[in-house]
């Protein structure tokens, strides 16, 4: 095997071509991953800006910073941007795009041109949605509930719904691309049993994207049509059924939560294995759990509707199924924890993010059980308890995983190391800030503070102030990585192909990788996570 570490001036995907055009017309999955990275970072900070506006408004009981219609637009935009323009594409479209071919030993994704088209669709959808927000905004909430959205709202519902509709196609294409790549383009010897758990999770995610997304796309189209032509699908005055919308909406949007969280779990499996130098405890069960979550995730949508007027028996069945879907997630948490046992644990930044993820995801998951227990859900539904719960999952879980993954693979992406001290500080700030922000919201919710309130009774104020204070810490935690990642592009230490001595195929090529990923197609003869064969000192050498 191979030789010395190559000098950085070598040809890689970043310097193989220059100029804006070479980026905008690229079909290299790695470059497209970076295009996504840049766009969703933008959206994340835009959504974060709206989050801060929300928190500032809620500092006082009166709605004194914004009028209520502005507040309604602000939380709607926060929700739409965060869900459709940040969370759903975050890991699959950035890290998945970048890593799936590398991890299975392929030259690219199965359909490179479709991959580029996905990014254009995503941007087009994003721009249309933003255009709708700038020209009048929307005030329906990201859930677009009818008949408010179809008949009563005076805002730009149609434009924004069409924007979201378009981004849906990008999601479908990405899912399709990943699925076909995993099926058809694995390197020789890369059997299903040797796939990294990252790939298993992305595979499960892709199935949800391909099967679920068309439903939301069509639902939003129907909302637009009903608004424009009054066709009476959801509006009861025209003979429609407002609950039909909720069924269709949640049929996608509940599984969508798993589009957000499964990829994060994917990242955590890789990080925990690497920094405890071990194969994940119970590899088969963890892989299986991903698939089980994807399948069962489709069967629990009506747990968002316990008080919406569905029948008592329907409520019970959906409650039961919701408890069942929680089990595979619990299994994963136990397996990650058990992986540490007798490992050799390194406290590097990505591992801190992984610990943070496990903690916050556990709290998010356990509070999900409160919502699945119908008797309690009746009380806490549509209160801040729910807001706290889904932020623990979506921000505490999904965003922690995303940032952890970005740190873990940053050297591979950029060829440079980030400053470890600052990175640890950011992980800490985010963890603390997050809890100070969202834990009080559980209490607020049980006290009865409804969500989407611009003004609230005085007795809720102290907890709201606490939450806003936490959000400020959180904001600093999120801005820091932005700064030092950019800084590292120029000043960071050269990373070398495998700075963490990690085991995946992606670490067996140079950093940044060449355009075609591997000089020669790798032949896989080892199991995933063969950390016993990787020496602590040197790691796997670079393929020649």
């Amino acid at each position: 095997m191979a030789t010395t570490v190559q000098p950085v001036e070598q040809q890689n995907y970043l310097n193989s071509n220059y100029g804006i055009k070479s980026w905008l017309l690229t079909t290299d999955h790695k470059r497209i991953g970076l295009l996504y990275l840049m766009s969703i970072t933008l959206f994340f900070f835009l959504g974060g800006f709206f989050a801060m506006l929300i928190r500032l408004e809620l500092l006082t009981p009166a709605s004194d910073l914004m009028q209520s219609d502005n507040y309604n637009k602000v939380f709607t935009m926060h929700g739409i941007i965060m869900v459709f323009l940040f969370l759903i594409p975050s890991i699959p479209a950035v890290l998945g795009n970048f890593l799936v071919p590398l991890m299975v030993g392929a030259k690219d994704l199965a359909f490179p041109k479709i991959n580029l088209a996905s990014w254009y669709l995503f941007m087009l959808g994003g721009v249309v949605a933003l255009y709708g927000m700038v020209t009048g905004g929307v005030d329906t909430g990201w859930t677009f509930y009818t008949p408010f959205s179809t008949t009563y709202s005076n805002t730009n519902v149609v434009t924004v719904a069409i924007g979201v509709f378009i981004t849906g196609f990008s999601s479908i294409f990405t899912g399709l691309n990943i699925m076909v790549t995993v099926h058809r383009m694995r390197a020789p010897g890369m059997t299903w049993g040797r796939l990294p758990l990252f790939i298993w999770s992305h595979y499960a995610t892709s199935v949800i994207m391909v099967l679920g997304t068309p439903v939301i796309a069509i639902t939003l189209l129907l909302v637009a049509l009903e608004r424009l032509f009054h066709i009476g699908i959801f509006n009861s005055q025209l003979g429609g059924d407002p609950l039909l919308f909720q069924h269709l909406f949640w049929f996608y949007s509940h599984p969508a939560v798993y589009i957000m969280i499964l990829p994060s779990m994917a990242v955590i499996s890789e990080i925990v294995a690497c920094y405890s130098r071990k194969r994940i405890f119970g590899y088969n069960f963890v892989a299986l759990a991903s698939v089980a979550i994807a399948v069962f995730g489709f069967l629990v949508w009506a747990h968002h509707m316990f008080v919406a007027g569905i029948s008592v028996y329907a409520a019970m069945i959906f409650s039961l199924l919701s408890f069942l879907v929680a089990i595979p997630s619990a299994v994963k948490v136990f397996n990650w924890t058990a992986t540490l046992y007798k490992g050799s644990v390194h406290f590097d930044t990505p591992m801190l993010y992984a610990f943070g993820f496990i903690g916050l995801f556990t709290i998010g998951g356990l509070t999900g059980l409160f919502l699945a227990s119908i008797g309690i859900d009746v009380h806490v539904h549509d209160t801040y308890f729910v807001v706290a719960h889904f932020h623990y999952i979506m921000v505490g879980g999904a965003v922690m995983g995303y940032l952890g993954g970005l740190h873990f693979w940053w050297p591979k992406i950029s060829g440079r190391l980030y400053p470890e001290g600052w990175a640890k500080l950011s992980a800490l700030l985010i963890f603390v800030g997050f809890n100070v922000t969202f834990f009080p919201q559980f209490l607020l919710g049980y006290l009865g503070m409804p969500r989407r309130y611009a003004a609230y009774p005085e007795e809720f104020q102290v907890l709201n102030v606490l939450s806003t204070a936490g959000a400020s810490i959180l904001a600093v935690g999120y801005v820091l990585p932005m700064i030092y990642f950019v800084w590292s592009l120029r000043y960071g230490k050269i990373a070398g192909p495998n700075p963490w001595n990690a085991a995946g195929l992606e670490w067996r090529t140079s950093s940044p990788p060449p355009t075609y990923n591997f000089e020669e197609t790798p032949i896989v003869t080892w199991e995933a996570y063969n950390y016993d064969e990787i020496s602590e000192e040197k790691g796997v050498e670079v393929a020649g």
Partner: protein, 327 residues
Amino acid sequence: MWPNLPLFPERASTLAGRVDALYFFLIAVALFFTTLIAVLILVFSIRYRKQRQLKAKQIEGSLALELTWTLIPLSIAMVMFVWGSAVFFYQARPPRGAMEIYAIGKQWMWKFQHVEGQREINELHIPVGRDVKMIMTSQDVIHSFFVPAFRVKADVLPSRYTSTWFRATTPGTYHLFCAEYCGTQHSGMIGRIVVMEPSAYEAWLGGGGTEGSLSATGQKLFQELGCATCHRSDTQGRGPNLVGAFGKPVILEDGRTVVADETYVRESILNPGAKVVSGFKPIMPTFEGQVSEEGLVSLVAYIKSLSQTQQGTQKQNEPAAPVPAGK
């Protein structure tokens, strides 16, 4: 500086204690597992940190362990499911004989009508210690009737009546929120529930001028709109006889059977063609636009009263004296 800092809501209905008990159980379980995971992670990662443990020991997994940590959480989850459903069953089924109050949600206020005739806006007076059933509908979008101190919540839908019930245990004033986002002034759609001692409640009912009971209002409307010309209380009417009909199954022209509940009555008034009763022609005109949502509520209350008061005293096929038609 701070007014006060409550961390737990008031508890003012028979349901509240049940919900709280389950809540405490779930908190205990959640605390246990969070602590367990946190402690394991801390202990493992410190005990086996790389400074102390240079080389990891590879462990494949363990079927026994996987089964344990699948089955134990599963059985705890099943306890939560059964308990949660039990609480929900109690909550979802109004006891017989509960006093009924009609609520109408509208952007952005709550309107209430007591069967005795009182009307209120954004304020609801009820007696302590009595079962109260709310029968609710919306004039526009979806709203949600939420009283945290009672642990009660139910969505309020347009074109449909939903219901919920509670029995207040402590006199006082409590928040009533709209919990389903309903547009601009959603957070202003706040009302008060005033729970009174029964005697005070009676006094309150008596005070202030009212136009008579809700069903009397409905009866008047029934006459004014001309309903009585077809819905005669003998068998000669061109429409079905409504005496005793409420709450009973109705056989439709197309063979289906529906129960004549509030939603059915409302629909029959506004969209009579939708569910035509077997043996009758679809000749009834729609009253869409002619009756307000309050008017509909009073009509429903009136038709309901035809069943409640008369049932005991008359035979099915021996209709009453000219209650609806005459007067």
